[in-house]
């Protein structure tokens, strides 16, 4: 600023203190412009608008200011909204139980914490037992959570441990009974055990085709 200091002060109210040399004025104005441009491009634009032509916003972390979002709400094991370990699936099966002791077992593979909604109904009264087979443990480790005689049931289930979880249905009556079970949940597979000693693994549906909600009358 040596150019500016060569000048003589002028004493008056609102008038500048001095008239600078043209070179000093031009230099100062250019410095102001360039300094403003540098700060703007390297710091302000990245921080305010996410415009980062020189990469300085990324280098200083200022770019994050322009991308700030409200903190996400994370679903937790204890909250009303819980994350689930597996894909959402739906499944419907129908079983025919022969009279005088015919039975079937139908169980889902569930990870610990995996949830399932279910409803089942039978054309007659059956004995049922909702129980588990914990993974890697002997049959004695099985837990029975609900047992009784009924022609229907519905509810929700959250798996306490890995293994297969489901129903035993038995027909003690004298007519053939059909049991229909429908579930939705986060299981990875299903297994059927028949009274003739055979078993069968079922793949379960991963997707449900949407029905046209908007075209409803």
């Amino acid at each position: 600023m040596s150019d500016a200091r060569d000048i003589q002060p002028v004493a008056s109210g609102a008038v500048p203190a001095a008239i600078p040399a043209t070179r000093g004025l031009a230099k100062a104005t250019a410095i102001a412009l360039v300094a403003a441009a540098i700060i703007l491009v390297t710091l302000v634009l990245p921080a305010e608008y996410g415009i980062d032509p020189l990469g300085t916003g990324a280098a200083t972390g200022l770019i994050g200011l322009s991308q700030a979002q409200p903190p996400p709400i994370v679903a937790s094991e204890s909250g009303p909204v819980r994350p689930q370990p597996a894909d959402y699936r739906v499944d419907t099966r129908q079983f025919t139980l022969e009279p005088f002791g015919g039975y079937v077992e139908y169980k889902y593979e569930l990870e610990p914490g995996a949830a399932m909604l279910y409803t089942w109904s039978a054309t007659g009264v059956v004995n049922f037992d909702f129980h588990t087979e914990p993974e890697g443990l002997p049959p004695s480790a099985s837990d029975s959570f609900e047992r009784g005689t009924a022609s229907e049931g519905r509810g929700s289930y959250v798996s306490p441990y890995a293994g297969i979880h489901g129903w035993f249905w038995q027909n003690d009556e004298e007519d053939v009974v059909t049991v229909t079970v429908t579930t939705a949940g986060f299981y990875t597979g299903a297994k059927e055990f028949r009274d003739d000693g055979s078993t069968e693994d079922y793949p379960v549906q991963t997707r449900v085709l949407p029905s046209q909600g908007s075209s409803a009358p």
């Binding site: 500048p16 203190a17 600078p20 102001a32 403003a36 703007l40 710091l43 608008y49």
Partner: protein, 231 residues
């Protein structure tokens, strides 16, 4: 040599403060919490609007920078009062007229002109117009830029969608608050300037200080013009 060093320190300090502007008061709007409060108002609320007006002025770096530029070379209290009155007249007209008349305006463009007003005043203080050989009326300039500063205040209030009930009383309260805040800020600026003027080298540093002020003005312009084109 000592003068030179302290001038550089002063310039560096100005640059630092300028660089922190976007951090400390991004966009210089009304804070979300204050905005939420205003949304809940249904009638006359003189106290809160007085406070909000004063707060807006005291924390409004664009208005403060312009005021620093305006009174930088005003040594007599009579001159300070004259220029500040012109500025007050200008911004009161557009603050009241803009909000009550619901005049539409782009806040970014208005704020860019406010940035220009800072650079303009700094250039004037540097003796730029004298050197270039033009002599724009300094009083008219302060008045006209005052109009833009008031319009800037108006756009911030319009964004809040103020309730019609009690609007006039609330806006006038806000305006009076602005003047109270301006009085407080001016007092602080004047005390600092008056002290500085007693120090050796004030005039030598004046040029550098106004260069820094000009830079701040240019930065505000660039910031707001970018905002206009991006948003």
């Amino acid at each position: 040599m000592k003068n030179h060093t302290s001038a550089i320190v002063a310039l560096a300090a100005c640059i630092l403060v300028a660089a922190l502007f976007p951090e400390t008061a991004a966009g210089h709007g009304v804070s979300p919490r204050d905005a939420n409060f205003v949304q809940t108002i249904t009638g006359v609320a003189i106290g809160p609007f007085l406070y909000l007006g004063a707060k807006h002025m005291v924390t409004g770096y664009d208005h403060l920078l312009f005021l620093v530029g305006v009174i930088f070379f005003l040594y007599r209290l009579k001159d300070v009062l004259l220029y500040v009155s012109l500025f007050t007249l200008g911004h009161s007209i557009t603050l009241l007229g803009g909000v009550l008349g619901n005049v539409p305006a782009n806040a970014h463009l208005i704020d860019a002109v406010i940035g220009l007003s800072v650079a303009y005043k700094a250039f004037e203080n540097m003796g730029g117009f004298e050197r270039v050989g033009v002599h724009p009326n300094t009083r008219a300039a302060v008045m006209v830029f005052g109009l833009f500063h008031g319009f800037g205040l108006a756009t911030k209030l319009q964004e809040l969608a103020l309730p019609q009930n009690g609007l006039v009383a609330n806006i006038i309260s806000f305006n009076i608050g602005v003047e109270l805040g301006q009085f407080l800020a001016l007092t602080a600026i004047l005390i600092a300037l008056t002290y500085w003027r007693t120090r050796i080298g004030f005039l030598a540093h004046a040029f550098a200080t106004n260069t820094a002020l000009m830079m701040g003005g240019f930065m505000l312009m660039g910031y707001q013009l970018t905002g206009y084109f991006v948003e």
